[in-house]
Amino acid sequence: MRRSVSTAVLLVALGWGIAGLGVGTGNFTASAQQKPQTLDVKIDNFSFGPTELTVPVGTTVTWTNRDDIPHTVVSTDKVFKSKVLDTDEKFSFTFNTAGTYPYFCSIHPKMTGKVVVQ
C-alpha cells in the first residue's frame, strides 16, 4: 500500500510538472496522506451507473456487471481494459494520474462512461 501511494505521488508530480503548474512539494505531501478511496460503478441494464465519476488521484474504481449479458470496461484512450465480465464479475483500476478517462463497453459500444481524476 505504501508503495502504491508513492507511485501516485510521483505520477501526479510528473503530470503537474508537464502542465507547468509548478506546485510546491507541500501539496504532494498532503495528498499522499489522504487515505486511498474506492468507488463502485454498477453495470445494470446496459448502462454504467454512475455514468460520470469525479475522484481524487489514487482512487480505485471497481465495476460490477449485474446484467445477464457479458460486458467490458475499455478506456477509449487505451489506458485500461477489462477482460470480458460475465454476470457478477468485477474489474478494478486505480487512477494514479489526474485526467479525464472516457470508457465504453467494447461489446455494446453504445454503453459509455467517464472517470474524471483530480
Binding site: N45, F46, D67, D68, P70, T72, F104, H108, P109, K110
Partner: protein, 321 residues
C-alpha cells in the same frame, strides 16, 4: 421505424409484369426460423408453421436455412437450456418438407467465445440434415481476442476478419463481419478494407444475379439507441444498387423483423436461445424472460427458398413451438 406486429405480417408487391417482384410473407415475431425462397430474384418468406400447405408452392431450385444467436453457454433465467433449444431448432430443420442444402449461422454462436461453447454448437449442428454451415461472427464470438479463435475455426477460406462470398445455383452469397473494432458510442462497423473487398466482389456480377448478404448486426438501422444498426452499411448497400434482387439476412436482435426498401429486402432471424424485447419496449435490450411454456414460441429458424423460373426468394420464419 418498422412496426412490429404480433401476428403474421403480409407485404404484397404488385406484380409489374416483369416478374421481378414476388411477395413477402413472414411471421413477424414467432420465428426461430424462416423459410426463404428466391423466385425471380425476389425473396419470398413463409411461416414455417404453414409449411405443409406451402411446401409445394415454395419448392425451388435452392433451399437453405438461417439460424442465429445460439449463445451456447448462456444459462440465465431467460433460457437455462440453450442446448435443448438449439437441438429443437435442428429437429425443426430436419423436419422441413424441402430439405435445405446448407445452413447460414448469423453469429453469436457462443455466449462467451469459450472453445467448449463452439465445440458444443458444432456437435449439435452435425445432426442437422444439411452438412454445410456458413458462419459469420457475432460480438459474442470474438470476445477477448478480436476474433482470432473464430477465424481459426470458421474462417479458413475467408478474407480479412472473416468475410467471404460464394455462389449457389446462380445466387451470390456475401458473408460480412460487422462486430469488430467497434467505436465508443457507435454501432456495428464493416470498415474500409471490407467495403473495398465487397465493391470488388460484386463488380463483375450481372445485374440479374440474386444477391444474399448475411451479417450479424442488422445492416439497416433498427434502433440506434440500442446499437441495432451498422455505421457504414449505406456504403455496402450502395454497391448493390444495380441488382434487381438483394436479400439481407441478419441476427443480433433476437426477434424477426422485415423491411423492404426498393430492391432490398431486410430480414432478421429469431434466436435459438432467448428472445429480446421489441425496440424501446424495455429498459435495455437484455434477455427477455417469458413463461417457460412460451419460450419455444419466441425462438426459431429461418428457411429460404430460391425458385429460378418464378424469379423470387422466399423467406419463412418458424418458431420452435
Amino acid at each position: 421505424m418498422f412496426e412490429k406486429k404480433k401476428d403474421e405480417l403480409l407485404i404484397d408487391h404488385n406484380h409489374d409484369g416483369v416478374d421481378r417482384r414476388g411477395f413477402l410473407k413472414c411471421m413477424a415475431w414467432a420465428g426461430t426460423g424462416a423459410l426463404c425462397v428466391i423466385q425471380g430474384g425476389v425473396l419470398k418468406s413463409y411461416s414455417l408453421s404453414n409449411m405443409p400447405e406451402l411446401s409445394a408452392e415454395v419448392a425451388g431450385e435452392l433451399s437453405f436455412v438461417q439460424i442465429s444467436d445460439s449463445h451456447m453457454g448462456f444459462n440465465k433465467a431467460a433460457n437455462p437450456d440453450v442446448v435443448g433449444t438449439l437441438k429443437a431448432a435442428v429437429d425443426k430443420i430436419n423436419g422441413l418438407a424441402t430439405p435445405p442444402e446448407f445452413m447460414l449461422h448469423t453469429g453469436d454462436i457462443s455466449h462467451l467465445s469459450k472453445p467448449e461453447e463452439f465445440d458444443t454448437v458444432d456437435q449439435i449442428l452435425k445432426s442437422a440434415s444439411p452438412k454445410d454451415v456458413f458462419f459469420v461472427p457475432g460480438e459474442h464470438d470474438v470476445l477477448g481476442d478480436d476474433g482470432k479463435q473464430y477465424l481459426e475455426r470458421y474462417g479458413k477460406n475467408a478474407k480479412g476478419a472473416g468475410w467471404y462470398s460464394f455462389d449457389k445455383k446462380g445466387v451470390h452469397f456475401i458473408g460480412l463481419v460487422n462486430v469488430l473494432n467497434l467505436k465508443a458510442g457507435g454501432l456495428g462497423t464493416l470498415g474500409h478494407e471490407q467495403l473495398e473487398w465487397m465493391e470488388d466482389d460484386v463488380k463483375h456480377l450481372k445485374d440479374s444475379t440474386p444477391i444474399v448478404v448475411f451479417a450479424h448486426i442488422p445492416l439497416w438501422t433498427v434502433y440506434p439507441e440500442w446499437g441495432w444498426g451498422t455505421e457504414d452499411s449505406a456504403q455496402a448497400l450502395a454497391y448493390l444498387k444495380k441488382f434487381g434482387s438483394v436479400t439481407v439476412l441478419n441476427g443480433h436482435i433476437h426477434q424477426t423483423m422485415q423491411k423492404v426498401e426498393g430492391n432490398v429486402t431486410f430480414h432478421t432471424a429469431a434466436s435459438t436461445a432467448f428472445p429480446q424485447p421489441a425496440p424501446g419496449k424495455a429498459d435495455s435490450p437484455g434477455p427477455m424472460k417469458v413463461p417457460a411454456e412460451q419460450l419455444k414460441s419466441v425462438l426459431g429458424i429461418t428457411d429460404v427458398n430460391y425458385v429460378q423460373t418464378q424469379h423470387a426468394l422466399a423467406v419463412v420464419d418458424s418458431s420452435l413451438a
